[in-house]
């Protein structure tokens, strides 16, 4: 059906038939079920998913993550358990005036959400409601298939809910907008497929907070797709916090396109989840774009975290900066693959990448793979990856002030990761992240004063 997919088939495995069963079972209940436009849209993507299959580690971008662990089990769409205000309030961020959409296992919890009273030019809608109420428009707006992507196609087929966020030219949302995704494990293996669409017009400004919280353990795969379009001089601050619980997995693909002089500041912390993979495909389409991507991951036990980033400098005078840090303990495994592609026209590009890692255990593992692909001649690009132990000079400094070795090691481990946490713009996100960081730091109980 699709030539590129066929050509790479040998690197993909056919999905277990359970996906087809799940699709058949779900399609009659998914939003937009009566509308041929949505039905066709879903079918198109699902057919392509069947054609492509699930990636194996032989696919370059999946080299470090064997997704079979999370996806090769029969999964039905997750149902919505009862979650009350008391269960979720502690994850509210963005301050008292923040707007909030809350999703439980991929279902919008409208009674917990609050997006009323938005200023002129700001539209925040439930994607599920749009699919149901305006199917033809939704199918057009969500667009046809780009290149095949197993999980993006799967997301389209099963798309249940999410957020449609649109700011017109010059529109500004002064207070943050939080998208809070809660995962509550269920006895059987389940999955959820939310989507976030953000469109910022010229000079529009948004502070988006995206939090993924595991409330109860269990096999649950969240497969998120994010589409971000930033117009000329638009500014997006994007704080992303991932606190999955045992057994929960997360696969996310973010596609971002930035027009001239747009600014993106994204900070991402992964502090929980059996398997978490964040894929970023960032295009600097206009000139003078500023893009900053900060990230920190701290897997423990047998957790696995994979960050895959591709930054395409397509226009001149762009600036991109990747700053990722990782702390791996126990038998955890993390991977970082960051690729910078500077197109021929993208003269005077500044592109930087750092990936620093700390291994706390002999059995922990990090795979770090920086890549540069440069076709322009007047560019400044650099990348650096480190992997090591705590700085001996700093350890001595702390001990010479009376802290014992264990305490000094705790503080330095915390500090290593906290350097990224400090880049969160929202103080409440920073606080939540610091709490989880302390909980994951060996000897962290002694650090409670840091909170």
């Amino acid at each position: 059906m699709n030539a590129p997919a066929r050509a790479t088939r040998s690197r993909y495995v056919a999905p277990i038939p359970a996906f087809a069963d799940a699709f058949t079972a779900a399609r009659s209940s998914l939003p937009g079920k009566e509308a041929p436009a949505i039905q066709d849209w879903r079918q198109l993507h699902f057919d392509r998913f069947l054609e492509t299959g699930l990636p194996t580690p032989r696919v370059e971008q999946w080299k470090y993550t064997n997704i079979a662990r999370a996806a090769n089990v029969p999964m039905a769409l997750a149902t919505r358990p009862n979650v009350g205000l008391g269960d979720v309030q502690r994850y509210f961020t963005g301050g008292p005036l923040a707007r909030r959409l809350i999703f439980v296992n991929g279902h919008l919890a409208s009674e917990l959400s609050h997006v009323r009273g938005l200023p002129q030019g700001v539209r925040v809608e439930s994607l599920g409601k749009l699919l149901q109420d305006e199917p033809e428009w939704s199918a057009r707006a969500l667009g046809g298939p780009a290149e095949p992507h197993s999980f993006a196609d799967l997301n389209a087929a099963f798309l249940q809910s999410g957020a449609w966020i649109e700011l017109g030219d010059g529109a500004v949302l002064e207070h943050p907008l939080q998208l809070l995704f809660l995962t509550v494990g269920q006895p059987a293996a389940v999955m959820a497929h939310p989507r976030i669409v953000v469109r910022l017009g010229k000079e529009a400004r948004l502070h988006l907070i995206e939090t993924h919280i595991g409330l109860a353990p269990g096999h649950c795969l969240t497969n998120l797709v994010g589409h971000y379009e930033l117009g000329e001089k638009a500014r997006l601050t994007h704080d992303r916090l991932q606190l999955g619980s045992a057994g929960t997995s997360f696969v996310g693909l973010n596609r971002q396109r930035l027009a001239e002089r747009a600014e993106l500041k994204q900070t991402l912390a992964t502090l929980g989840g059996a398997l978490v993979r964040n894929e970023t495909d960032l295009h600097l389409v206009g000139s003078f774009v500023e893009a900053q991507l900060n990230g920190v991951y701290m897997p423990i036990g047998e957790e696995h975290v994979d960050n895959v980033i591709r930054i395409h400098h397509e226009a001149p005078d762009g600036h991109s900066d990747q700053f990722y840090k990782g702390v791996m303990d126990d038998r955890a495994h993390a991977a970082f693959a960051g690729k910078i592609i500077v197109h021929q026209d993208a003269q005077r590009t500044n592109a930087f990448q750092r990936n620093d890692n700390l291994l706390l255990s002999d059995d922990a593992e990090i795979s770090s793979k920086p890549e540069l692909e440069i076709y322009a001649d007047d560019v400044k690009c650099s990348h650096g990856a480190t992997c090591g132990e705590l700085d001996r000079t700093a350890l001595f400094y702390l001990r010479s002030r009376g802290l014992d070795r264990a305490q000094a090691e705790s503080i330095l481990t915390f500090a290593f990761a906290a350097e990224v946490i400090e880049r969160f713009v929202d103080p409440a996100v920073r606080k939540l992240a610091r709490e989880c960081l302390v909980a994951r730091t060996p000897g962290g109980a002694g650090l409670s004063d840091l909170l």
Binding site: R392, L403, I411, F414, E419
Partner: protein
Amino acid sequence: MLKITDLHVAVDGGSKPVLKGLTLEVKPGEVHAIMGPNGSGKSTLSYVLAGRDGYAVTGGSVRFQDADLLELEPEERAAAGIFLAMQYPVEIPGVANNYFLRQSLNALRRARGEPEVSAAEFIKKLKAVAERVGVDPELLKRDVNAGFSGGEKKRNEILQMVMLEPKLCVLDETDSGLDIDALKTVADGVNSLRSPDRGMIVITHYQRLLDYIVPDFVHILADGRIRKTGGKELALALEEQGYEHLLGEAA
């Protein structure tokens, strides 16, 4: 209180001798200045006293009060009362200065069997000390030394020293990188700690600092040994005549 006898220390896995028979005694209340050319072993001495690894003691002994200092871990030396104000203070992004100092103070108190200091008491004292040693109160909330200027880092060391009230202060080139105003403030902080039961070792390249922290003894360290000892006038003579002349005379 501190008795160093015929101390031999080597670096680079023990292959390169740096201190070659250093002997020095510091009694309570005394201030000893140690001057010497580059590579004479000044910083090595300070690190060996504070317990940094990478320095192999190949001979001699160091007694501090009643203990064999060389047997102690760095934190045990701190608890015993030794404080090293470092030449290159370390930056610790992610850890607030005031948090760090309170942890440090309480760790020392615990090790000495004293009660921990309350948050209110600590903040009161910290504010007073910060003002005295010229540390901007904003720097107390910032991460330890992160993004501090050279002078701010040195003042922060003195702030820690005054807060922790050690028995023996070792200052390793605290004057380097300081302008004259900062030098005076730092010296005031150090002088405020002078007391009959506290000893000090002031390591410096320049006589200038000793105008403000007036020593009881000046030692010239060269090639791993104390080559000449005198009063504060020795530093002045050194400033005028240089090491070569003075040491040539000694030899």
